[in-house]
Amino acid sequence: MATTEAVDVVMPQMGVSVSEGTITKWLKQEGETIEADESLLEISTDKVDTEVPSPASGVVTQILVQEGETVEVGTKLAVIGGEAGAPVPEPEAAPEPATAEAAAEAEAASSAESPAPQPAPAPEPAPTPAPAAQPSNGGQDGKSFVSPVVARIAAEHGVDVSSVPGTGRGGRVTKKDILDFVESGAQAAPAEAPAQAPAPEPAPAPAPEPAPAEVPAAATPKPAAPPPAPEPAMAGAGERLEPMNAMRRGIAEHMRRSLDTAAHVTSAIEVDMSRVVAIREKLKPEFQKQYGVNPTYLIFVARAVVETLKRYPWINGEIRGEQIVTRPYVNLGFAVELTDGKGLIVPVVKNAEGLNLLGMAQAVTGIAERARNKKLTPDEVQGGTFTITNPGGYGTFHGTPIISQPQAAILGTYALVKRPWVVQDSFGKDVIAIRPIMNITLTYDHRLVDGALAGRFLKDLKEALETWDEVSY
């Protein structure tokens, strides 16, 4: 019974090690009929010469390999039955490998246009207030090698390994060393779960303008020695000494360096948050029920900041050597206080410019939770381009934060306070209303950012908050 469906004839494998065969003779030509099991062609292989029986009865519709040709085992040699002259389906063209590459190229091209040198966030040259341990290019001195477990613990606790004394070989920090430090020092979960995620914190020490500072209100009376080599200090009568832990030493170093590096100037603006309050009231139940996140005022501010920064790249920028660095993305850091005031950590939401309000709420909530549970990855505490700090949780209405190096500015948000406010009534006349007012500061590096620029930024930010665009935000 002739086959109506096309049946392939393939080069058989005559023996386990045989990989190819040669057609020596076709016993039938195209168009001739053949019975199943009747010999169709003769082949020759390394092991043996033999005949190949037809797998089906029917017409030899196509002969694909000619006498004398050598092909691999499994190659289609002929077709029995089916449509005469039907084109044998070509093996599909290999899917274009270009797609992925093309996408990558497009991406590279677009980022090449932007002034930013590379898409990856530039690794920070100096430790941030709570940096992750950097795995070293091992083997130079025992001190620089960080073992996997030490790296992991350091990242989890935001400890700078280089400031942990090491008792291992060559001065290496051992697991025991870092565990001891974490025990004695920056312990436990940062932040209560506040309505304003991340926890409020008086950001860096209350260092005022470049004018001679009052003595910093530190508990320790003695001046902080440079972190690496603390000199043994003496206690006076009635005084108590306690050691500075790794985090504290890190913060001290960073704050001092930041003030020494940047020309700190702070400008402030008052923002009528009524519209934000109203929108928040509306969205809060939905956000909590559907997404499990609380849209705090900080999150609204963060969203508006990111949107506004798009028009002020220098405020999201950096001075590097003699160059000004700008970038099309915003890696937004949030200062988070650790419990008991033992220190602070600044987790970073990468690519915040791509987040809408809900996305921002989710990102911030997530990062705060990870900071609390010591589950931040090293990547999440590096690479920030702009920072927001929220000292207002304690009710303060103004402050002068210190910039997180090597960024160009830091935004401070303060208590939302109901104030009597002059507004216009429907006739355009001045009346007093009660409005929720928030003071917002921008502390900026005057080497790069001038007062006028800062002022315009704050003005735009204020406008964004006061006229909150529900659709595009």
Binding site: V10, P12, G15, V18, V48, D49, V52, P53, P55
Partner: protein, 348 residues
Amino acid sequence: MAIAREAEPVGSLSEVREAGLDREDLLTVYRNMLVTRGIEERGHILYKQGKIPGSFYTGRGNEGSSVGVATAMSGEDVGTPLHRDMGVHVTLGVEPWRIFAQYMGRVDGPTRGRDGNVHMADSKLGLIAMVSHLPAMLPVAVGCALAFRIREEKRVAVAWFGEGASARGDAHEGMNFAGVRRLPVVFICDNNQWAYSTPTHLEYACETLADRAQAYGFDGVVVDGTDVLAVYRETKRAIEKAREGGGPTLIESMTLRMEGHAVHDDAFYVPKEMFEEWAKRDPIERFRTWLRDNADLTDEEEEQIGASVKKVLSDAINRADESPLPDPSTLTEGVFATPEDLDTPHHK
């Protein structure tokens, strides 16, 4: 000078009856031989059509020996047949479609695609699957006989090996141990005169392998492997002797391997005259002639048997072809046995 006895050919139907087979049984034997050859011929074609992977081995010319031995086994006996002994599987009742499924590496083959060609066995039928290292199964069969001896059961193990495999230590150790302990095992040496391209005089130096039996303390006999009834009769004697506690026997069954070592080997090294001579002694043709001469085999009976065999085989191939290929995700399953696995027919 050979020591071992040579078996006599079987003469008449009444002699056969004495040996325990009636006419119906003989027709079954004939049919079994045809099915055996048919499976291997069809398989050969399938292999050349690319439907059977790996390599393909046949026992062409050994149908008389394999069917003859298996016919002499009782339902309680066990055996370790080899790759020239497809006739054993057929005679003991393995369904042909499962054999084709095994060849094609399908899920319904006895090894579910995990092993190929004749490396299969149905444990319900008392068979143990062979391996490639020969004669590794010979001492295993001896171990089966050991179990029967310990438990004082009237069961016999049949152990096959080729004349080439006789050169390996496993053969010696197995037969020696069996002889020492007079275990109920019958050794069948399929001597088809060629181990791949190696002729017998390069495999052993004694005149017949059956002679070695004496060295192990038991009897050896040489039989014409193309005479299915002679093979049957000798095997029956040996099995009954073992069953009654008489210890092992070594039966050397002489044939010629009528095809290459495997289908990819054209056996150019075998002298043409050998093929011509042994072709005249084709076991199936020989038995057919004997049946016509001694058992009144009629044309109708022949035709009927032939047609039925043909149908069985094509149905078998179709059915086997429907069996799926194994699922790669099951690859590492079953490396280790679980206690439930001990519920196999062998272990009862």
